[in-house]
């Protein structure tokens, strides 16, 4: 049940990121096309893509944590014996969790506070872009609760390589190797 929900959360989160990234590229590129092809510019493109980037940053943070993509300096940790290190990592994990919970609460308060103001171009409530931070922090907290044990044990999910594993690549490497 929980595993099923977790898979759903990850899949949904990934899909949202893909859509946001694609929308950002489309907005900015469409603006270039419109300017050169049709002689006008889409005035809301900049604003919307900018807000999408903030949303993408915060909504991606949880998945990035699952894959161990948030760089940390762990030299001091490595000097500790296994038990002590796990202990320190639990402290760090709880600290991170407390911070994102605080960020969720503060973020919602701030978005509510700014709701009556409007964005410069789209004239939507300014709170909508501001919601990126609390929503992202909330999603991060969900992911983090699910993988906290793995974080402490340093067992991260490994992303697949982007290199196409086809004949051309292997051949290119082999052709240089053989001589």
């Amino acid at each position: 049940m929980l595993a099923c929900l977790e898979r759903w959360l990850v899949a949904a989160n990934r899909a949202v990121l893909v859509a946001m990234m694609a929308a950002m590229v489309a907005c900015v590129f469409a603006n270039v096309l419109a300017r050169y092809g049709f002689g006008f510019s889409i005035i809301w493109a900049e604003e919307i893509s900018q807000y999408l980037m903030v949303w993408l940053t915060y909504l991606g943070a949880g998945l990035a944590m699952r894959e161990g993509r948030h760089v940390a300096v762990e030299l001091a940790q490595d000097l500790l014996p296994e038990r002590a290190r796990r202990c320190v990592r639990w402290i760090v994990a709880v600290g991170i969790f407390a911070f994102v919970v605080a960020l969720t609460i503060l973020g919602f308060q701030f978005a509510a506070f700014a709701w009556i103001q409007e964005t410069p171009v789209l004239n939507i409530p300014l709170g909508i872009p501001y919601l990126a931070i609390p929503c992202g922090a909330l999603v991060f907290a969900l992911h983090f609760v699910l993988v906290m044990r793995d974080y402490v044990a340093r067992e991260f999910e490994h992303p697949e390589s982007l290199e196409p594993e086809d004949a051309a690549t292997i051949e290119a490497q082999a052709s240089i190797r053989q001589v």
Binding site: R14, V18, M21, L63, A64, A132, P164
Partner: protein, 429 residues
């Protein structure tokens, strides 16, 4: 408040919290305990720190480079580089330098270069009989060319932090130092290869074969030209150029190399989104930290301190660069830019150092910091990818580090190196 901010920063850093949370956490704690400001400034600063149109070049450059990688462009660059320099003594080492220099025109991040072509070349060199630590050290140092030759993520962030330089100007300024970096590493590789008797030279390749390899590599070689050309002719802003680069990379992958399909594209988009998220989260949190520094008037204090020592520009450049090098030993590149640039730029302007020249020196300096132990992000990547001991890799990197430091001295003390190209094209004051 300053005490809590710095103490929090140090403690969180030492216990190994992720960098983003080190800065966000320290900033949050300082505001919480101090109590003079509303805590709502936290989300406000985090939001404003990344709500910027120029910053959008960061995700787009990451995405464009990832798409090119998934399109199989690394292997064609590799083959092209091999056809040009593979026959020289220490050949694969030179192929490593040249491939990464060419790849630098596609990618704007040293980490991407280290994990992509850097890792491939390290494995190839190891298989060919090079010492594995030597191979990893060379790959790590050539990866630092990535953010010096445009496009560059660090430069985009720098230009946002310091309004007196433009992204276009910085991109241009990076070309000559980037090539110098490549040359210095090639020379180092050559000397060491001679001394250790590394042979492994492939046969010289005919010019017609080189031509064919170049045609294959053309899509990759054209990309920096489109980006830089587009920006310089005023056709696009840097952000637009990066979005055009994404569309170009999609085109190449779908219709030229045909490695991209819907499944691969989704995978690339997710990965780029996560890399972006990790990078921009640091930028976001660091801007909270940097804002607190301004509130505490730390930049003025440090400017006064250094300004009180001397007003001689050459000496100031030396002091500032040594200071940045030391910071670079411990702090990651992006947060270092956001925290240090507002502190240091006023000092440079005061004594009349050209902001673009200064920017180039700082960017190169902090990039070199990525291969300096104890905290060198690129070294971490290489040791993880090659399963190598960090200490031994740190020793193997020393000759290359020295070569890069010589280039840094050149960039710092010969303004022409960074300013000639921007000057020629009218991008200086």
């Amino acid at each position: 408040m300053a005490t809590i901010l710095f103490a929090g920063f140090l403690v969180l850093m030492v216990i190994g919290a992720p960098i983003a949370f080190v800065m966000g956490g320290a900033g949050f704690l300082a505001l919480l305990i101090d109590g003079r400001f509303s805590l709502l400034t936290v989300p406000q600063r985090l939001f404003n720190g990344i709500n910027s149109f120029p910053l959008m070049a960061v995700p787009f450059f990451i995405l464009a480079a990832d798409l090119m990688t998934a399109s199989g462009i690394t292997s064609s660059l590799l083959r092209f580089a091999n056809s040009l320099v593979g026959h020289i003594r220490g050949g694969l080492g030179h192929v490593n330098v040249l491939t990464n220099t060419l790849f630098a025109g596609i990618s704007g991040s040293a980490l991407a270069d280290a994990a992509g072509p850097g890792a491939i070349l390290m494995r190839m060199m190891k298989r060919a009989g090079y010492d594995q630590y030597y191979a990893a050290a060379l790959s790590a140092s050539t990866a630092t060319i990535g953010p010096i030759i445009p496009p560059s993520i660090i430069m985009v962030v720098y230009a946002i932090t310091d309004n007196s330089v433009s992204v276009a100007g910085l991109f241009l300024a990076g070309v000559v130092p980037g090539v110098l970096l490549g040359l210095s590493l090639a020379v180092t590789n050559h000397i060491i290869s001679l001394r250790r008797g590394y042979q492994f030279a492939t046969a010289r390749v005919s010019w017609s074969e080189r031509g064919r390899a170049m045609v294959k590599a053309m899509p990759a070689l054209l990309m920096p030209l489109i980006i830089i050309g587009g920006i310089l002719t005023g056709a696009f802003t840097p952000t637009e150029a990066s979005a055009v680069a994404v569309v170009y990379a999609l085109f190449v992958g779908l219709f030229v190399t045909r490695h991209l399909n819907w499944r691969v594209i989704q995978k690339v988009f997710v990965q780029s989104a996560l890399v972006t998220s990790a990078a921009l989260l640091i930028v976001s949190m660091a801007s909270l930290f940097a804002w607190l520094l301004t509130i505490l008037q730390i930049p003025q204090a440090i400017a006064g301190l250094i300004g009180g020592l001397t007003r001689e520009p050459l000496l100031i450049l030396a002091i500032v660069n040594i200071f940045v090098l030391i910071c670079g030993l411990f702090i990651d590149t992006l947060p270092a830019v956001i925290i240090l640039v507002p502190v240091l730029v006023p000092i440079a302007l005061q004594v009349g150092i050209d902001p673009l020249h200064f920017a180039m020196a700082i960017v190169l300096n902090l990039t070199i910091g990525m291969i300096t132990p104890p905290v060198g992000a690129v070294l971490f990547v290489m040791s993880a990818v090659g399963r190598l001991r960090f200490e031994a890799l740190s020793r193997a990197i020393v000759p290359f580090l020295c070569a890069e430091l010589i280039v840094l001295v050149l960039v710092v003390y010969v303004p022409w190196v960074s300013l000639a190209l921007p000057h020629l094209l009218g991008y200086t004051r």
